[in-house]
């Protein structure tokens, strides 16, 4: 018994580590979005600021780091991502639906082949789907000569929609297959016996039954398209979507504006998850109430009668929200008290850095001058010791700015 207890504690610790691994990085990234320093970090904390959500900054050395609201490339990419997502939903949901319905109508060997080919795209690496789409359409565009075909064959948005549809259709297909497994085929037969045409059966019976699957397939397709990178980066050609913009930003240099963007996405995801959970619970409760009501009506057993409870119950998660709110206010208060918030703080940090930068520049200049003189005199070239080893101090160069020299 004791060893069981010990095991449970171990498991608890393990799960804690796992959750830390899952959420720790995201949490830290979110916090760095509020640090005014131009390198996303926590420990040399400059000031609390919203600048990365707003206008960004122009660094003292002339480097321009755009914030979220002023970055036109991000906005452009966002619009293209939305367009592509819409296109993918419009194509892949009907394709997935058609394939899954046909799967129920074919048999034995053909069925196995059909199923295997349909799920193949999920097993292909995303880059390969992107590449194959591009090379094929480039060829088609070349053969087609000038005109419409050449235009669409070299249009990044069109190619991306096709490339993504290739494997996102499989996701939709799998969702529909799962739903169709529980479909009662006698419904169709009954409708046909009562004189409905096949088209009517499709629209009046099958489509309403598949409606939940259509909705979830559309959502999944849109999200998968929206966050896809591997296929898009090849098939988008000269255009840019949100993910490729993010990728080029991350590769070029890392700026807290990306943290800010991530925080916005995290917040949206959280809201969506909470709304979904609340709706689901409400639906569950309603279903249960309806069932209870039904049982009561059938049995007329007064013991089963449930009085409709009108008392308002405070949901438990409200307390968590309030706790976070209080913590937030308290933390913010501390920030203001310690001069870590507001334009003054940012200005002070900025000027400190500027003077630091200027000083270093001056010292370097001086060093260069003296070295020149010395080399004329034929003296020792390693001038470091002459300044009380001031350049031996690595920290001088460490605070230089946004360069991360140790990384490579």
């Amino acid at each position: 018994m004791r060893s069981q207890h010990f095991l449970n504690i171990l498991l608890g610790i393990y799960i804690f580590i796992f959750l830390m691994y899952l959420f720790g990085p995201l949490l830290i990234m979110s916090v760095t979005a509020f640090n005014s320093a131009e390198f996303p970090s926590i420990t040399p904390w400059e000031c609390f600021s919203w600048r990365w959500f707003q206008e960004g900054k122009i660094a003292y050395d002339g480097q321009h780091l755009a914030g979220l609201s002023t970055d036109w490339r991000l906005h452009d990419g966002l619009i293209k991502s939305l367009m592509i997502g819409l296109g993918v939903v419009v194509l892949s949901v009907p394709i997935g639906m058609a394939a899954s319905i046909v799967l129920t109508q074919v048999h034995s060997r053909l069925r196995t082949i059909f199923y295997s080919v349909s799920i193949m795209p999920v097993l292909f690496p995303g880059v390969i789907i992107g590449i194959s789409t591009v090379v094929l359409w480039d060829r088609i565009a070349t053969i087609g000569g000038e005109g419409f075909i050449a235009d669409i064959g070299r249009n990044g948005i069109f190619l991306t929609i096709l490339g993504q549809t290739c494997f996102i259709s499989t996701y939709c297909f799998l969702i529909f297959v799962a739903r169709l497994q529980r479909f009662d085929q006698t419904q169709e037969e009954a409708a046909l016996d009562l004189g409905a045409t096949q088209t009517q059966v499709f629209f009046k019976i099958l489509i309403p039954y598949l409606m939940p699957a259509i909705a979830s397939a559309a959502v999944i397709a849109f999200l998968a398209s929206f966050e896809n990178y591997n296929t898009t980066v090849f098939s988008i050609l000269s255009d840019q979507t949100l993910t490729t913009v993010i990728a080029s930003k991350v590769r070029l240099g890392i700026s807290p504006a990306i943290s800010a963007l991530a925080l916005v996405i995290i917040a949206l995801t959280l809201v969506a998850a909470v709304v979904y959970e609340v709706l689901r619970r409400r639906e569950d409760r309603r279903k249960k109430e309806r069932q209870d009501q039904l049982i009561y009506e059938q049995t007329k057993d007064s013991r089963l009668k449930k009085e409709p409870t009108s008392s308002f119950k405070v949901p438990r998660f409200i307390f968590v929200v309030i706790l976070f709110f209080i913590l937030g206010i308290f933390g913010f208060n501390q920030l203001v008290k310690n001069d870590l918030y507001g334009p003054e703080c940012v200005a002070a940090a900025e000027s400190a850095k500027k003077s630091n930068f200027a000083e270093q520049l001056k010292l370097l200049q001086q060093n260069a001058d003296t070295v020149d003189e010395k080399s004329l005199e034929g003296g020792n070239l390693g001038g470091n010791q002459d300044y009380g080893d001031i350049f031996g101090d690595e920290n001088l160069f460490k605070d230089f700015g946004g360069f991360d020299t140790k990384e490579d």
Partner: protein
């Protein structure tokens, strides 16, 4: 064919046929076949394509094995090294992921109460709606030379100089494991969940130790889930592009980065295609291997 039309009516049948032909033939099969063909052709400017020089050749595959003709080495050590390193890392990441996720999946399926298991599932899904690039970026903030972990370690006096996590590939391994956790956990969870809890209790009553129970009962039962999870993780890791771009050290190249380079920077599409075919064949071989090893059907792998 006739019965198909009779069953669905003319309008719906036409829709079905158009949708399926468009998808299977036009989006899946033809592009792959064309890419395969292109990989056997020399890299020509558009005007010369289809001309007398446009013949089938093995030049790109030769380049992968023997290197360019001007180089002194007998074999193309760089590319082959990248290729093997990618496969090796992908296998390692898959194994790490399996070991890491198995206890969690078991906990969710058998130990936790239904409500907390559901909560855990939602908690698992949330990070995976956030872009892979942004997740890698979060890890980069942690692991950078002046990143959070180094600053904390130096601040507490545990180490004197920063550890270069990125050059040591620690960041890459962590990032790749992080990226596809979900695709390992869900198949495992589904497989373990379908196990009858009575079997576990029976084993316990008969005096089996915890490890033995897992080895003899849970793992054999979860075979299909393990195969499915491993396949998905291996595929996605070997074909990953976003995470290696952000987290790999400058001297570690990922095979997809090589493909990207041939394709976009050197403008040699046919060589890019040839390298893609190599990656694709590794994926296919891995799937077949998994199917053979775990004796599962392809339908059980993708669900």
């Amino acid at each position: 064919m006739n019965s198909f039309f009779n069953k669905n009516g003319p309008l719906i049948s036409t829709y079905f046929i158009i949708a399926i032909v468009f998808w299977l033939i036009f989006l899946i099969i033809i592009p792959q076949l064309y890419m395969l063909d292109l990989s056997f052709r020399p890299n020509l400017p558009p005007l010369l394509r289809g001309g007398p020089d446009d013949v089938h050749t093995l030049v790109h595959y030769k380049h992968f094995i023997f290197g360019s003709e001007t180089s002194a080495d007998a074999y193309n050590y760089v590319d082959i090294g990248v290729f093997l390193n990618t496969i090796f890392t992908a296998i390692m990441v898959t194994i790490i992921n399996l070991c890491f996720c198995y206890p969690i999946a078991f906990y969710m399926a058998k130990v936790a109460k239904p409500n907390s298991a559901r909560l855990l599932i939602v908690a698992l899904i949330i990070p995976f709606w956030i872009n892979e690039l942004l997740r890698s970026f979060a890890l980069r903030i942690l692991f950078a030379g002046e990143g959070v972990i180094n600053n904390i370690l130096i601040g507490t006096g545990l180490i004197d100089a920063g550890i270069n996590f990125i050059a040591l590939d620690i960041a890459l391994y962590t990032g790749l494991t992080y990226a596809y956790i979900l695709l390992m956990i869900f198949p495992l969870y589904n497989a373990i969940e379908s196990l009858d809890t009575n079997q576990l209790e029976a084993a316990k009553d008969l005096g089996s130790s915890t490890i033995r129970t897992h080895w003899r009962i849970v793992i054999p039962h979860a075979k299909a889930g393990i195969a499915s999870g491993c396949t998905m993780v291996f595929m996605l890791t070997a074909g990953a592009l976003a995470t290696p771009v952000v987290l790999s050290s400058p001297n570690t190249y990922w095979f997809t980065q090589l493909i990207y380079q041939w394709f976009n920077m050197n403008d040699n599409w046919s060589r890019g295609s040839a390298y893609s075919i190599l990656l694709l064949s590794v994926s296919v071989i891995f799937v077949l291997l998994m199917m053979r090893l775990f004796k599962v059907k392809i339908g059980e792998i993708v669900r």
